[in-house]
Symmetry: C2
């Protein structure tokens, strides 16, 4: 039976619950993080744990276990569950609130479940997005709020798209669960610098991209999409995924471009090396 | 011991929990509603139940019990708990999700707890607000998302305010948990028409206001605040509460105005009559 972490304990599924006075349930006040395992080895483990604690700190939520204890609890959970190539989700809630509004003692929940692989053609042919005017609440924090993402799913599917590209005041920020990049006519790689969740994969993709290409972190405007030669997204399960269309705008020739394909290969090699060196 | 409703059952507190795979916890996907009781009699019961089902419907959440059964379950809960002048909160979650993103079978939770009375001077002297640029997600739905409200509490308190007034693209919408009204130099009462949660108290205040004053539901712009003679908010526990200052803008002479005070009295009488006729 799959095990979970609740606070400082590894528990069975029937103990993995939250009382109804918790602010996460009453007021959506909570943060999370998510990483995958390669076999049973966590990918970019330190980065995700660090970001989890940064998110918690900004939201004034005190994690009931410290960073080192959390890491060993999670490694223990993974080795007990023995689910190869799984996802590990950490949630920290606002805690049981005395008045339904004041932060209580945050509850830590860690789950570890199989990941359904994404369709292979999303990687090889790319995906379509629709645009949506929206700014994530407190965008630099990985809050639990994905209301807009789930609410718009029927509209996304009806348009033959797989996700939405958020923009606000003319500036492109990110997708529901991924960072967004364009490649301009000079093969310069551009991604939003502000009002986004700084993804762990975004960080490493920028790092490897800089070795071969010019890279710019700055505001990207909606108008730039028509001139973009390539576009792609990054994320924990998406790695690097090409984007071939946004609304009615076909990106480049509608096929994954050479810079994106180059980065896909280089990033896979980078992750393999990274895992090797952390074994 | 206080009882709760979970789905179609009245249960003890130790059974009032949600499993960690519920979308409300993982993705903040859920709706709620809240009403108060006068003694043990629900106030504007039908309106709140109707709005709860409207919110659920827009969010594609199917309540596990129908409207009539929910009403009799709630009346039963109130009579078992016997908490006079209490609050009743209905939450409908996204349900346990197979993949952490797809809507499952929604879970109904109803809690019934004492309400802490608001400070008397909030009603007699009014309150200060700060403004904040924000649009609630899916504003016509009472979602559980109050991240921005709770996150900004230290800033609100540091400014000597009690809540924040949201505005977006220059237009004033609402507070975190209340509707907002201004009174202009001709004693016309104006409140936002769009992109707001249409409060139950807002509806009845508009109804009684129309009998004495000119009333307009339309976009209100931030620039109009400097000319407003009076301002007030409405809500389930706030009823009608005067606003004397927003950021650095003192409203009128900084004291509750005659229209607001008139409406406070008329609305109290209206509620008393309404309760009498529904007894």
């Amino acid at each position: 039976m799959t095990k979970f972490i609740i606070n400082d304990q590894i528990v069975d599924q029937d103990k993995a619950f939250v009382y109804v006075s918790d602010l996460a349930l009453l007021r959506a006040y909570g943060i999370f993080d998510f990483f995958r395992t390669d076999g049973l080895q966590p990918v970019f483990f330190e980065d995700h744990i660090d970001r989890f604690f940064r998110s918690a700190n900004i939201m004034r939520l005190k994690c009931p276990v410290d960073k080192e204890n959390l890491k060993s609890l999670i490694l223990d959970l993974i080795s007990q569950n023995k689910i190869e190539n799984s996802g590990v989700r950490l949630v920290l809630t606002g805690g049981e609130s005395p008045d339904g509004y004041t932060i209580g003692n945050p509850k830590l929940i860690v789950s570890n479940e199989p990941i359904k692989p994404l369709p292979e053609e999303h990687f090889s042919k790319g995906i379509k997005l629709i645009s949506h005017e929206y700014l994530r609440d407190i965008p630099e924090v990985k809050t639990i709020n994905y209301l807009m993402g789930i609410y718009n799913m029927p509209k996304i599917k009806a348009n033959g798209a797989v996700d939405q590209l958020y923009h606000w005041k003319g500036k492109i920020s990110e997708l529901t669960r991924s960072n967004f990049f364009v490649v301009d006519e000079n093969n310069k790689i551009i991604t939003a610098a502000n009002r986004i969740l700084k993804g762990v994969n975004r960080k490493y993709v920028l790092q490897i991209a800089k070795q071969k290409f010019e890279v710019e972190e700055r505001d990207i405007y909606m108008e730039e999409l028509v001139q973009a030669k390539e576009a792609f997204i990054t994320g924990t399960t998406k790695m690097i995924m090409p984007v071939h269309q946004i609304d009615d705008i076909v990106i480049g020739n509608g096929k994954p471009g050479s810079v994106t394909k180059d980065l896909q290969i280089t990033f896979s090699e980078f992750i393999a090396q990274h895992l090797q060196s952390h074994r």
